[in-house]
């Protein structure tokens, strides 16, 4: 039941407890309890809206940054990653295989703000060897959702 509940929530977390209960064949109370448990166990981490900021006046600039670092003795990459992801400007941070070590997503009000963050905060961190910053020009798809993908239901209202 929990797996199916997660599948439902992944697609749409605005269904009511009653609706999810009907879909799962359980009571609304059971859904509520299951969700509480999933929250407490840290399985469901957050319920976020996916926003197309381009359509909002105060635009947000996103940069994808490839960071090369020296791993620290006894702590590997975790410690330096933590020093990076604790900044609120960093919205995502992953350890990568391949040509660089950490993949960091940074958001800011404009390019200057992001560039300054990289220059003043990220790059000077002791174990950081280099940063390669790529600004996002246009988002086509995120979290399996196509931006501007919505189109009117243009099916014939009645068929045969």
């Amino acid at each position: 039941m929990k797996k199916e509940l997660l599948n439902i929530l992944k697609k749409n977390c605005r269904l009511t407890y009653d609706e999810m209960a009907v879909m799962l064949g359980v009571t609304a109370k059971e859904v509520q309890e299951a969700m509480k448990e999933l929250d407490e166990k840290g399985i469901i981490i957050a319920y976020n809206a996916l926003i197309d900021w381009e359509k909002v006046d105060d635009e947000i600039v996103t940069a994808y940054i490839e960071v090369r670092v020296t791993p620290q003795r006894g702590q590997g990459y975790d410690k330096v990653a933590e020093r990076i992801y604790k900044y609120p400007q960093v919205t995502a941070c992953c350890l990568m295989s391949g040509g660089f070590d950490l993949f960091v997503i940074v958001e800011g009000k404009n390019m200057k703000e992001v560039a300054l963050f990289v220059a003043e905060k990220l790059a000077p961190i002791e174990s950081v060897l280099s940063c390669s910053t790529h600004f996002v020009l246009k988002k086509y798809k995120e979290n399996s959702v196509v931006f501007n993908g919505f189109h009117k239901d243009d099916r014939e209202a009645v068929v045969l």
């Binding site: 599948n7 879909m23 009645v158 045969l160």
Partner: protein, 392 residues
């Protein structure tokens, strides 16, 4: 001769066949703002991209010619594997599979191969509106069976026995059923096999909605060895793979029958659209995950829809196949027609009156859940408000 005398030349069988009753409210809803249609008998999903891509690629490559009449052999081989994998039915791709222009063509040519003036074809109702029409066009007589809500709209052996005469050539069975959403399992068919196995009657089994079975496994009467040789299985891509507009389906049956059906297909259609055939090959090779994803989504909406209809005060049999619910509206004291008309005019929700699928569908309405959960949610609020108002 003048225009008014043309009617005298048109065959009586065609004139006597009524147009589909489903289209009745089409003009009305088209002029309405904010209306929600639960009348659409097709998936709201777009064809999965991997399938569309193959169609586009075939066009880019200039593969725009006819295929063999029966369809590309690669496609027939995929169909053969698919039918075996999914339904344990074995058909030889060389001479037991025909690719058709949708399931609709398949129904038409199957009926035409066996029925003509003076013959009878048994059509259980409520059912897909085209069955009766196809029979009437041939000059044969459709003999209807009334499926009952108390039987969960399953076909019963005694009903078949009552309908059979010495003129009976074929029976058309359609499960999972449009419009009721009913299904037949293996045991249900076993009972029918008992009465059909010794009769010289062809079974036309329309299994277009087979993939959309939400409880248990889809069963086919062709799975019974004593029935397989005289059963024509019709399936396709429209519903399962969300490919309605591509117009592609297929028929599986023994070569003796298929050779004859193939002639009609050959002269009337040549072959099915080749772009659709290339896309269909991809659908069978790599489309099944997408089918599962869509089916899971339909199932969630189905549960919401049934629950909502019941909460609105309508008696609603639980459908376990296709993407329709078929609530009983007799408790409102209204006819199916006036219920649908008033619901559309007063609450802007379109459902299809049950009698469009046969006289015995009177007292019921068909609603599809092949639409977004937001539409379903809003439609259910309006339906509940409407039922409450008229039951006062």
């Amino acid at each position: 001769m003048n225009i008014s005398s043309i009617k005298n030349l048109i065959r009586k069988n065609i004139l006597d066949t009524p147009p589909s009753g489903i289209r009745k409210y089409f003009d009305l809803i088209n002029e309405m703002k904010g209306a929600i249609s639960l009348g659409i008998g097709e998936p709201d999903f777009e064809t999965p991209w991997t399938i569309r891509e193959e169609g586009i690629y075939s066009l880019e490559k200039g593969r725009t010619h006819y295929s063999s009449n029966a369809g590309f052999i690669e496609l027939r081989e995929e169909i053969s594997r698919y039918m075996d994998r999914k339904y344990s039915l074995q058909y030889d791709p060389k001479d037991e599979i025909l690719v058709t222009v949708g399931g609709s063509e398949a129904i038409d040519i199957a009926v035409r191969t066996f029925a003509g003036p003076g013959d009878e074809v048994i059509v259980p109702e409520p059912s897909f509106v085209a069955y009766k029409g196809c029979v009437m066009f041939t000059g044969a007589t459709p003999v209807t069976i009334e499926l009952k809500a108390k039987d969960r709209f399953k076909l019963k052996p005694e009903q078949i026995l009552d309908a059979i005469t010495e003129k009976t050539k074929a029976i058309i069975i359609g499960y999972p059923n449009n419009p009721t959403g009913a299904t037949m399992d293996h045991d249900d068919y076993a009972a029918l096999v008992e009465v059909l196995k010794d009769k010289d009657i062809i079974v036309i089994s329309d299994e277009l909605y087979a993939e959309l079975t939400y409880q248990g496994k889809h069963a086919s009467i062709a799975q019974f060895p004593e029935m397989k040789y005289k059963t024509i299985v019709i399936n396709g891509f429209s519903k399962a793979f969300a490919m309605t507009g591509w117009r592609i389906g297929f028929v599986c049956c023994n070569a003796e029958i298929l050779d004859q059906m193939k002639k009609i297909h050959q002269y009337a259609l040549m072959c099915s659209p080749t772009t659709a055939q290339f896309a269909a090959i991809e659908a069978l090779r790599n489309g099944e995950d997408e089918v599962r994803r869509m089916t899971e989504e339909y199932n969630r909406r189905r549960l919401i829809m049934v629950d909502g209809m019941r909460k609105a005060g309508l008696d609603c049999f639980e459908p376990v196949g296709a993407f329709y619910v078929f609530p009983d509206i007799r408790s409102t004291g209204m006819s199916s027609d006036s219920f649908c008309e008033r619901l559309l005019l007063e609450e802007k929700v379109l459902m299809v009156p049950g009698n469009a699928f046969g006289a015995c569908g009177e007292g019921f309405v068909r609603a599809t859940y092949a639409t977004s959960i937001e539409n379903i949610r809003e439609a259910l609020i309006r339906i509940a408000r409407f039922v409450k108002r008229i039951k006062k």
